[in-house]
Amino acid sequence: MLFEGSVGIGKVTIAGSTVPLRGVSVYYQADGARLNLIARSESNGSKTYYVRSFDTPANSATCPITLTSTKTQFPSAGGSIDVTIAASDNCLWKLRRSSAWISTRGSVYGLGPRTITLQAPATGLATQQVFTLTVGNASLQLNQPANTTPNYPWTYPAELIASEYDPNSHRLVFVTSNPDQLHVWDVLKGGDIAVISLAAKPVALTLLPNQAAAISHDSEISLVSLSGSYSRKFNVKILATSMVASSAETLHAFDGYGRGVSVSMNLFIPQAVSNVYNVNFRRAKSKPNSYHFYGFDSYLTRKYDGRFIPPSELYSVVTDGCGYRTWFTQNADRWLNACGAAFKTGETASDDGKFFGRLPGLDNVWAAAHSWQAKVFAVTTGSSNDIQFFADESLKYLGKLTLVPSDGSLFVKDISLTNDASQVYAVLMNADPTAPKLEINAHVIGGPTGSCAVTLGEAPAPLPRPAGRRHLRSPPTQVASGEPSRQTLGLISRVHRLVSGTARLTSPSLLIQRLSRVVARFVSMAPRLPFRNPAGRLPLRNRSPSSLHPAASTPKCSQCDSQAQAQSIR
């Protein structure tokens, strides 16, 4: 069996026995029309070397290819289609799909003729999806008709509190109040897999390993199996506003006012809740696929080892004070914050928290999602229902999707991307506590289909940012309005170094002398420190529908240029 995107280099038969070949070297011909390999076999201690030259579809004369299929339409309930690829024996080809919505069993690469089975999951969309398969110059179009009883947009009379998306299981987990519930939503089909009643109003939500979720309430934390098979409650002495699970065993919860508590999630340990301890941050966020987490507080970002109770602080770094909302990239190499700034993660204080760049034109990110496979950020701000897309390396603006909710009072609360960014899911809510409403919207953005709504070339006015990659590693010399000056950051950094003891001081008197000097300077600068509204956005009740939806009348893009799509969402 091969993983997608590979071809086994094969075996040879020596003296009647089959011996695997080991790769030695690989060279492309300059025009890409051939791929030349050196390999070797080992049998009874003797090595034999081999050479083979493969044709590639870049040379249509030596590598002609045709694509055929008896069926071209996937059922809307999901299904598979066999596609036959006719190619010469020495032709090395790659099957390209316009959307990863359709998947293959095994490799999309092949050598010679082969039949590939393509699968499409059930769709909950009201629009037909069209997919194009390409091998070399040959292409074949497949489609999946619309769901005749579409599940999107899906509305529900409840107040959305929090949501988390698991792109691997295609589940959106969200908690609501009024009624107090946890929903496990299948985004592909567009429907609840499970709805679990909660005993109290939820405050925060985090997904746990082993298909479970932790929900905080006032002085209580619930652990709930997403299948509804079990639930546990822990009485805690805080109202947790953020939680991190550094392992399947331990959950840390924090109240936003410098207090934390840890809970053992081991099912065999009843009511194992730690004493309340003090922490130096307001909000915690797990680093994906790691037992580390970050604590964000004003201009200091602290990294913790979550295997300990209380968590062990590893080091802290100075960032830009916008960590009150953060989103990690899928591969955890960066985080994006509420001011649209991206910072690199690292393993030491010297390489962690380095400024990577800024999303142009954004200084207030309300929700964000990342696709590592497609290398895009999807971002929404509080000022409109646009979802903007940015390349995750260059941070260039790629395009936007304007959501048109079923109800003008709804605004985007959270967004999610499938792994390949072929679809985007938005959770919207209104600001009316007497008639709460949430809505889930789904849009295909990765394929050349009529439902795609990303329009290109409407880049918002960029904020000043340092030019060139070399500058991206150091803190910005020019910062956006409302952010600390470099002088302020430097001062904070000096205080931090003194307090954390990294400054090399020779005597206690010198320490006191320097500390007092720095503190005096800090106090003298205090009035100049910028003030930032931690929410970064108007209180919901004060926002008028027009302020929520300045672009509500913007029509959805009904025709998408497939080439432009390919450039924007790779």
Binding site: M1, I9, G32, L35, N36, R52, S53, A58, N90
Partner: protein, 268 residues
């Protein structure tokens, strides 16, 4: 009658010629290899017999140049017409077209890695050898001898050990320009020298600008590959996927594979 004979001869030739869709065994052991883009030939060296092979992978035609000793390393120059061959205490300079030995020079080191630049020098850090004069120069602040890669522009040299080093090439010396940690030793210049792929699967920014750092551009996707599998070799030219030979995936069949990566996202 003559036409019939020609047709029969052609049919016999077609049937007797090696099938393209098969691996062609070589009658020598490959010690090291490089690629001549100019000649579209694989340049290999072998011991016993000590030879340099200029191999056409399409026709399997092999042109050989006898070597004076058991070779250790080979490097094709940026023009694709000459190669340097390293031995224990010798370095040869070989013309590939026409195929002939130009000269062999004694050196004071084992040239286990060589890099032939277009400026008249053969580099085996911390040594460099002037091809015209045969004079070697030792530069104690140049490092990295797991791999030596000369950028096609001959302006920059990349070496590696547990780091990847970037040196500017000047007639006087190698100038330290940048370095980046990468513990895997081996590496390959791809995309005309614009990028480096390391044995760890890291994709690094290369190029010949003296001011460009060795930034990590990405990682060849590890999807389906366990933690310790490494890249054996990699290649990429414009308009193709990055082709990387990877060691067998233990959880699957264990056979080595050619993995193909998107040149922008480095995803499979």
């Amino acid at each position: 009658m003559n036409r019939t004979l020609v047709a029969v001869a052609l049919a016999v030739y077609a049937l007797s010629s090696p099938l393209k869709a098969q691996w062609t065994p070589l009658n020598f052991q490959v010690v090291d290899s490089d690629w001549s883009a100019q000649l579209q030939r694989i340049v290999m060296i072998s011991a016993n017999p000590h030879q340099l092979h200029i191999y056409n992978p399409v026709t399997n035609a092999d042109t050989t140049v006898p070597l004076p000793a058991a070779p250790l390393s080979v490097s094709v120059g940026p023009d694709g017409l000459f190669a340097a061959v390293g031995y224990n205490f010798f370095v040869s300079y070989v013309s590939l077209s026409p195929a002939r030995m130009e000269k062999t020079m004694p050196v004071s080191y084992a040239a286990s890695r060589v890099g032939l630049a277009g400026n008249g020098y053969i580099y085996s850090p911390p040594y460099r050898l002037n091809i015209n004069t045969g004079i070697e120069v030792y530069q104690n602040d140049s490092a990295g001898n797991s791999r030596v890669l000369v950028h096609p522009s001959s302006q920059v040299l990349y070496t590696s050990d547990s780091y990847v080093y970037k040196y500017g090439i000047t007639p006087e010396r190698l100038t330290d320009l940048a370095f980046a940690p990468d513990p895997c030793g081996s590496m390959w210049l791809i995309a005309g020298g614009a990028k480096i792929v390391t044995a760890c699967g890291s994709v690094l920014e290369a190029g010949d600008s003296p001011t460009t750092r060795i930034e990590k551009l990405g990682q060849l996707s590890a999807s389906g590959i366990s933690c310790c599998e490494t890249v054996i070799a990699a290649a990429h030219v414009s308009g193709t996927s990055i082709a990387a030979l990877r060691t067998g995936i233990k959880q699957y069949s264990g056979d080595d594979v050619i993995a193909f990566y998107d040149p922008s996202t480095y995803a499979l």
